[in-house]
Subunit: 336 residues, 2 copies
Amino acid sequence: MPSEQDRNDRVLFARNPRGVPTLEDFTRDSVPVPEPGPGHFLVRNRYLAIEPYYRNVMKGMALYGRPLAPGDVMFGETLSEVVVSRHDGFAAGDILVARGGWQEYALLDGSSVRKLSVSSAPPTTALGVLGTPGLTGFVGMVYLVPPHPGQTVVVSAATGPVGSTAGQTARMMGARVIGIAGSADKCVYAVRELGFEQCINYKSGSLAERLKEACPGGIDVYFDNVGGDTLAAVLGNLALNAQIVLCGMIGAYNLDAPPTGPHLGPVVVARATIKGLVVFDHFGRLPELERVVGGWIRDGKFKYREDIADTLAEAPAAFCRLMRGENFGKSLVRIS
Amino acid sequence: MPSEQDRNDRVLFARNPRGVPTLEDFTRDSVPVPEPGPGHFLVRNRYLAIEPYYRNVMKGMALYGRPLAPGDVMFGETLSEVVVSRHDGFAAGDILVARGGWQEYALLDGSSVRKLSVSSAPPTTALGVLGTPGLTGFVGMVYLVPPHPGQTVVVSAATGPVGSTAGQTARMMGARVIGIAGSADKCVYAVRELGFEQCINYKSGSLAERLKEACPGGIDVYFDNVGGDTLAAVLGNLALNAQIVLCGMIGAYNLDAPPTGPHLGPVVVARATIKGLVVFDHFGRLPELERVVGGWIRDGKFKYREDIADTLAEAPAAFCRLMRGENFGKSLVRIS
């Protein structure tokens, strides 16, 4: 339980960034730790998940509810521990995934909260490969665009939590997995640790040409995580009846007006299918994710990587790095 | 049987057009009528179908086989009558849909040929609503993006053979159909004759705004026939779980390099599905098309319109009109 001297350090939303976010888009303050009223509980945030979609929240996109006003605590998903509860469903010591925001403490009412079940995986995985990002990669691959054994699957942002889960799930399903990532280090990791057959650094040479070499029979399944030029390069290399799942377009998040997209003529020629995925629809499959992917982690068959900043004050810089593609693994901030 | 004096007038491919085709992209000549050797037969072409995809043939797109060389007879689908046969499977008087080309006579070997079954519909429908274009609209709607009764279906190029078949099929399936077409006359026809609930002239005002008014609950199914700005306007008005079928992008056919496409963010948000359709895959359903749509025609429930040029010499002008969107109904050329 916090003492009266304890303060709640917070990172606040200052403004919708112009393009790629900068540190000036955030401010900080410190306020007294609040006390929970009836039906509420106080949590201490242990880890903050840094997510690309926060950029859309900063833009006020309707999908994410009420727009932030300048001075509001930044919206964010957290791994949190209950410290004081006046809510029947929660007790001190409970570990939760919550929307605790970019701050040390948060008052919650129990909505949009998930109690962590006992798991042998480290709790931070609940924000990564065993949380929303992992669920995105897992349900996309298993339910939306399931590859047949031996088919060629391409995954972008291959070393992030979404892409690494999508790609390793495809590998478990017997597919041949080709990653796309933004550095030589990431590509080495994707092949050595994640077990992808190849990984292409999209910053080095023509991605379309490299994909043609890596996928001589064409791309059967593409898990798209980024949109933009990467998606266009993939569309030029589709196999007949290719399946594509789109779950986000990080490049577009930095723009106020939507950019153009790829020419869709190749989708016709390939008789391809494109499906949009919003992970909110699939939260009911979290227990399945924990059981299946959690089992693979326990058995040493599934790897993941975290990129952890050490204090809440570093959260804005971590977010800016993520939006420039400079993180390597699931971006997290250790708060306390 | 042609006499020795008979000549075979032909329209020849001159060059890949620069942008929208012009008359200079074609030449004409006249040669003796050829005589069939063993295993071949001579047809007299009665009607030539004018099709947008010929523009891609002129470009040498691989999907359509060997590229045309300057001086080759223009590639084209025809309604043809066998006049002399040295092929066991065909006899004088047989009426065929064939790739007879832009000429009065053609020598054929029986491949890529379809004998017309006896039908109460006029034979020219075999090049339109009961042929490849109609099959595209029918299988797209019934098998790729089937609407539920009461759902809102939008169809572009609404008065052409593909769009009018797609839209009327959707109406038969109980959907509410909104057309998009390029003139006030076409829109009146779509509502009065084709039974669409509304039809929007995309040349008049903001298509995106007009679609929002016509589809307050969003667009459940979109049959795309044109790509480009029309597709982008539709993507801004999708209902949840919308289904889109893409079967061609006429605007792109006039370009040597592929254009950009629409931003696909709305596909993610709507959890939409996009499917590419190439009608060649579905030729096995022609008997079903003849039975089902042919039955609707006989019963007066299904309308179609033809835009017929009177002589082979007018074929280049008819094709240029089609590629500028100035035809009204299935574009045909009466040859003899």
